[in-house]
Amino acid sequence: MAEVRVEAQRGYARELLRNRKFLIGTSIFLALLAVAVAGSLFVDPVQRRTGSFPVRLPPGPGAPLGTDSLGRSIAIQMSEAVPNSLQVGLIAAFLGTLIGALIGFVSGYFGGAVDAVLRILIDVFLSVPSLVFLILIASLVRGVGVQTMALIIGAFAWPSPARQVRAQVLSLKERAFVQIARLSGMSGLEIIFRELMPHMLQWLGANFVNAFISAVLAESGLSLLGLGPQREMTLGMMIYWALSYSAILQNLWWWWLTPILALMCLFLSLYMIHLGFDEASNPRLHSQV
């Protein structure tokens, strides 16, 4: 049994590494990450302060991506914003997928009244725009940092993974190997972790990427509304500052265009990784899209 499973996962990994979308997406993502990490290694934190550079410089030799109205270099802001935004995505996606997977497993595996209640809960939180709850909480917890923000976003990122995992568990739990495990006296939790979890890893991968996308989206949305981490830089906060200093009207295009392009690259790369996961776990999709 175990060997078959390992074999299947190896095949999955091979499929994934051969997938063009996955590879392109991962390359863009890694390139973005590398530039950001390299930037943050070589940047002196003192240079992040306002007034470190002449104001409103267009991209040129002094500042490769120009400077803003407060005398901050856009390139240096990016070196802080990209890692922070990725951090929000990572923490929130991890938390959301974890909570979602647990709820989905419990709901799908135990069924009955537990399932009925959890299903309603999942449906409710799926239909309500989570952004409004985030607005409510973030406006009460003022002055959040990057990590707090990630935790708040993650706490509302579970419904969609929960629904997917529940559906998967429902289809898996009637399979022979689960029946055998049950007959051999394994407890419910043991079955969930030892028998079902390995089968779900591929699904959780795609879900994780999805949650990552939504989290970065939520971060930039909240930041644009003025609820972002005011003392730290994220891609959303960069757009927020650019808009509040009317960068568009002052024709400081490098200020607003840089974070927007970075966000677009990030979303596109994540979406391609997601498509890659989908196609690798379900090869029939390959011919369709």
């Binding site: 309603i120 809960l121 449906d123 409710v124 939180f125 799926l126 239909s127 309500v128 725009p129 989570s130 952004l131 409004v132 709850f133 607005i135 409510l136 909480i137 406006s139 009460l140 917890v141 996308i213 989206l217 930039s220 949305g221 644009l224 509304l225 003025g226 609820l227 757009i239 808009l243 568009i248 009207l249 024709n251 295009w253 607003w256 927007i260 966000l263 677009m264 979303f267 596109l268 979406y271 369709q288 899209v289």
Partner: protein, 338 residues
């Protein structure tokens, strides 16, 4: 019919649960943050220069939410005031009622949202159906799919910012912000209507273009997957015209999951619309909430959140109710019986 009623009652339970859970969340979240439940209200009073009426306001809030009583009694009184439509007073513009402020903002949001969502859903579904039915991997289709994919992955506000730059700043075709020109009196005149349309053009365009990509992609893949179904093959065998098979058979069946897709993504659409309003300073709920966040006006934020949740839940329930009507199987069952 019994199946229909069972289905409806199930959806109704979800609807009621949504309202109930959201209200409860909105009630408890401020009380879980440390300090006085309305500490946000009190501590922010001084900062907004509204301190003139502060004692009155604090007294009013104490009475309204019964802060001297037990949590349970507070909750009941919160619910009772909600049922009456009383959402309290704004802090930033005391003594305005929150409900009045919401009432003047909501028509703009609903107008923008309904029109753009309908246009993009219908248009995207139609184009997706035609492209999916034709199939093939021509250069044109490939480009169309990639463009749709890129549009689908970027959030509304990114496109909104680009549109503002191009059409309002660079070419100056459309106004930069607002819902109508300053100095123009809102009324039922042609001038005003045209002015409103001109102001709504860019926000609407950014919302339509982004969601169009998604509806196109989803309808295209639905139609593609339906092509091999038995009833399509049978219709072909009967010698029905291509057009009839596409619109009468394939499209009608694809409409069901497409409508479900609309119901599921309604929350996301609304969230995106709120932020788009901020970029265009469009005076709907998003703009109101944005300004309340800036002015530390928690009651207005809370009222806005409740109103949005309620509207989304209601719209979802409405889609759920219409859903069986477009399902050919349920229609068949009903005529079979009646």
């Amino acid at each position: 019919m019994i199946a229909y009623l069972k289905y409806l009652s199930e959806r109704f339970v979800i609807f009621v649960a949504t309202i109930f859970i959201s209200i409860t969340t909105v009630f408890f979240v401020p009380r879980l943050t440390p300090g006085n439940p309305l500490s946000a209200v009190f501590s922010n009073l001084a900062g907004v220069g509204g301190s003139l009426n502060a004692p009155q306001l604090i007294e009013e809030y104490n009475r309204l939410f019964g802060l001297d009583r037990s949590l349970w009694e507070q909750y009941v009184s919160f619910l009772r005031e909600l049922v009456r439509g009383n959402l309290g007073y704004s802090i930033g513009s005391f003594p305005s009622h929150v409900s009045d402020m919401l009432r003047s903002a909501i028509p703009w949001t609903i107008g923008l949202l309904t029109v753009t969502t309908l246009i993009s859903w219908v248009l995207g579904s139609l184009i997706g159906a035609v492209v999916g039915w034709r199939g093939g991997k021509s250069r044109f289709v490939q480009v169309l799919v990639s463009v749709a994919l890129v549009l689908y992955t970027i959030p509304y506000y990114i496109l909104a910012i680009i549109l503002v730059f191009l059409f309002a700043f660079y070419w100056r075709i459309f106004p930069l912000s607002g819902a109508y020109s300053v100095g123009l009196r809102p009324g039922l005149s042609l001038d005003f209507a045209l002015d409103v349309l001109r102001h709504a053009a860019l926000p609407a365009l950014s919302m339509i273009v982004v969601s169009l990509g998604w509806w196109f992609l989803s309808m295209r893949s639905l139609i593609t997957s339906l092509k091999g179904e038995d009833y399509i093959l049978q219709a072909e065998a009967k010698g029905l015209s291509e057009r009839r098979i596409l619109w009468g058979y394939a499209f009608r069946n694809a409409l069901l999951p497409q409508a479900t897709g609309l119901a599921i993504s309604l929350g996301h659409i609304v969230g995106g619309a709120l932020i788009t309003e901020v970029i265009f300073a469009y005076p709907g709920l998003g703009w109101l909430i944005y300004n309340s966040i800036k002015g530390l006006d928690f009651p207005v934020i809370q009222g806005g959140v409740l109103l949005i949740v309620f509207s989304v839940a209601l719209a979802n329930f409405a889609i759920d109710m219409v859903y069986p009507l477009i399902d050919p199987r349920i229609r068949y069952e009903r005529t079979g019986r009646g």
